[in-house]
C-alpha cells in the first residue's frame, strides 16, 4: 500500500489560540479570506435564571483545528473538471495552479472547507502539508507552532495505531463521505457527528 500522510489533533488540550492557523497563513503567504488551517469553535447549551443567579444548562464548547485532511477518497480530486488535483506519493492532495481554472467546484464538494479561492490569482488553493518543509526534514508550520503540542503528523496508520481512530466529531462530517487521513483525540465534552446539540460559534468571516 502506498504511503498516506495524515494529521493527528488533540482536541482535549487545544486552547483555541490559533497559533497553528496564523503560522500556516504566515508560512504560505495566504491572502485575506484564505485560511488553509482553521480553528473552529463548536459549542452549545444555555442558561436559566433562578432568582438572582444564572444556572448553566449543558453549556459546553471545544475547538477543532482542521486543515485539508488529504482524504483517501478525496471528492475534490474526483470532481475537479480539469484534473488539476492529484495525490502525490506521500498521499498529499495537491492543486496544480497552472491547470486550475478557478471554478470553485472543489470547495462545493469538500465537507471540510479545505479548498479556498484565491481572488488575486483566480485559482483554488489548499493545504499542501508543507511538503517543501517536509522535504528539508522539517515539520509542517502548524505542527511546530502549537504551544500545546496538540498537532502531530505522520503515516496515518501509525497515527491510528497510536491514538485511535476517531474522526466523527461535531461539526465534522461522517467519515464515509471522504475517508479523511485524520485522527482526533476528542475533547471531554465532544459530541459525535449527527448527535450535536451545538453550533459553530465563530463569527462570520472568522473561519
Amino acid at each position: 500500500m502506498s504511503r498516506q500522510l495524515g494529521f493527528y489533533f488533540n482536541a482535549d488540550i487545544c486552547i483555541g489560540c490559533k497559533a497553528c492557523q496564523i503560522a500556516c497563513k504566515d508560512k504560505n503567504h495566504l491572502p485575506m479570506g484564505v485560511l488553509w488551517r482553521r480553528v473552529v469553535n463548536y459549542g452549545g447549551g444555555s442558561w436559566v435564571q433562578s432568582g438572582d443567579i444564572m444556572i448553566p444548562q449543558n453549556v459546553f464548547g471545544y475547538f477543532l483545528s482542521i486543515s485539508c485532511n488529504h482524504c483517501e477518497d478525496a471528492p475534490c480530486l474526483h470532481n475537479c473538471p480539469t484534473g488539476a488535483i492529484s495525490k502525490n506519493e506521500d498521499g498529499i492532495v495537491l492543486i496544480d495552479d497552472d491547470v486550475c481554472i478557478g471554478c470553485r467546484y472543489c470547495s462545493w464538494v469538500c465537507p471540510y472547507g479545505a479548498p479556498q479561492f484565491n481572488e488575486d490569482d483566480g485559482v483554488m488553493t489548499k493545504c499542501n502539508f508543507c511538503y517543501d518543509l517536509q522535504a528539508e526534514g522539517k515539520n509542517p508550520a502548524c505542527v511546530d507552532a502549537c504551544p500545546l503540542r496538540a498537532i502531530e503528523f505522520g503515516e496515518i496508520e501509525e497515527l491510528r495505531a497510536k491514538h485511535g481512530d476517531v474522526v466523527e466529531i461535531e461539526p465534522l462530517p461522517k467519515r464515509e463521505i471522504t475517508s479523511p487521513a485524520l485522527v482526533i483525540h476528542p475533547h471531554r465534552h465532544a459530541q459525535a457527528t449527527g448527535q450535536g446539540t451545538g453550533h459553530i460559534l465563530d463569527m462570520e468571516g472568522e473561519i
Binding site: 482553521r38 482542521i66 474526483h78 475537479c80 473538471p81 480539469t82 471554478c103 462545493w108 465534522l172 463521505i177
Partner: protein, 305 residues
C-alpha cells in the same frame, strides 16, 4: 447574491431552454411532416434553430463569468472520465457542435432528410445528457445537503421542458409573422394549421410538466426546511415570499396562459390572441424559473465546515 451565482443561474437556465426547445422542435417537426409534408414542416421549424443555438452560446459565455481563469475554460473538459462538471461542459460543447451541424445541414438542405434526422436525434440525446450531467454536478456533491436529492434532476428536466416548450411557442409565433410579412396574409392555411397544432401540444406539455414541478418544488422546500436547522438557514423566513411568488408565476404562466394558448389554438383566426398568450406564458415562466434557480442556489447547505 454573487456575480458567480448569477453566472450559473444564467448558464443553467439558458442551456436548459436551448435543449428543451431543440427537442420540442424535433417532435413538432416530426408530426408536422406527417401532417403536411416535409416542405411545410421545414417552413414551420427551420428559423427557430437560430435562437436555440444563440441561447446555448450566450449561456456558455455566461458560465465563463464564474471562473477565476476564463481564458483557460477549455481545460474543464479534461477530466471527463471522473467529473460530472467536466461532463457537463463536454456535453455542452458536443450539443453545440451536433446542433450546429444539424442546423447547417437543415438550412442548406444538404444530405438526405434521414441523415439530417439522425443528426438531430443524436443532438437531442446529447442535449439530454447535458441536462442530466448538470443535475449530477449538484446531486452527487455529497457535502451539499440541499442538492443531493432526486428533486435536482427532476426540477432541472422540468425547467428544460417548461422553458423549452414555451420558448418554442414564442419562436413559432414570430416565425409565422415573418412568413406572413414576406408572403402576405393569404395562402397560409397550411402553416396556420401546423401552428395551431404545435401550439396546442406545446401548451398541453407545459401544463402537464407544471404539475410535476409544483409538486416536486413544494416537497423539496419542505425537505430544505427539515434540514435547515443546523445550516444557519431560515428558508421560509428568508425566501418564503420569493418561493410563493415563484410558484404563483409558474402557475399563471404555464397553467393559466397555457390553458388560454390551448383554447386559442382550437379554432383558426385567433393567431394574434395565441401570440399574446404564448408571449405571456413564456415571460411568466421565464421569471418563475429564474427565481426557482436563484432559490436552488440559495439552498447551498454545506455540511461539515
Amino acid at each position: 447574491m454573487h456575480t458567480e451565482t448569477w453566472a450559473l443561474v444564467t448558464f443553467t437556465i439558458l442551456a436548459q431552454t436551448s435543449v428543451g426547445s431543440f427537442i420540442a422542435l424535433g417532435v413538432a417537426h416530426y408530426f408536422a411532416v406527417r401532417k403536411s409534408g416535409i416542405e411545410q414542416a421545414d417552413k414551420l421549424s427551420d428559423r427557430a434553430l437560430l435562437p436555440i443555438g444563440g441561447l446555448l452560446v450566450l449561456g456558455m459565455i455566461a458560465s465563463l463569468l464564474h471562473l477565476g481563469q476564463p481564458m483557460y475554460a477549455y481545460r474543464a473538459i479534461l477530466n471527463f472520465g471522473n467529473s460530472w462538471l467536466s461532463r457537463e461542459i463536454g456535453f455542452g460543447v458536443m450539443f453545440a457542435a451536433t446542433g450546429a451541424a444539424f442546423a447547417f445541414l437543415q438550412w442548406r438542405k444538404l444530405s438526405t432528410a434521414n441523415v439530417r434526422n439522425a443528426v438531430a436525434v443524436l443532438a437531442a440525446f446529447v442535449g439530454c445528457a447535458l441536462v442530466f450531467s448538470m443535475s449530477q454536478v449538484y446531486m452527487t456533491a455529497e457535502a451539499q445537503e440541499g442538492w443531493t436529492t432526486v428533486a435536482t434532476p427532476i426540477s432541472f428536466f422540468a425547467t428544460t421542458v417548461l422553458l423549452g416548450t414555451l420558448a418554442l411557442a414564442v419562436a413559432f409565433m414570430i416565425n409565422y409573422w415573418i412568413i406572413q410579412r414576406r408572403e402576405g396574409p393569404e395562402c397560409q392555411a397550411q402553416q396556420c394549421d401546423l401552428l395551431r397544432g404545435a401550439i396546442k401540444w406545446l401548451a398541453v406539455t407545459a401544463i402537464v410538466v407544471l404539475g410535476v414541478e409544483l409538486v416536486v418544488s413544494s416537497l423539496q422546500s419542505a425537505y430544505v426546511v427539515s434540514i435547515e436547522d443546523h445550516a444557519n438557514l431560515d428558508f421560509l423566513g428568508e425566501y418564503g415570499v420569493l418561493f410563493g411568488v415563484r410558484l404563483a408565476l409558474a402557475f399563471v404562466g404555464a397553467g393559466i396562459f397555457g390553458l388560454f394558448m390551448y383554447q386559442a389554438s382550437q379554432r383558426p383566426g385567433r393567431e394574434k390572441l395565441m401570440a399574446a398568450f404564448a408571449f405571456s406564458a413564456f415571460a411568466f415562466i421565464l421569471v418563475a424559473e429564474v427565481l426557482g434557480r436563484v432559490l436552488f442556489y440559495a439552498t447551498e447547505i454545506h455540511i461539515g465546515l
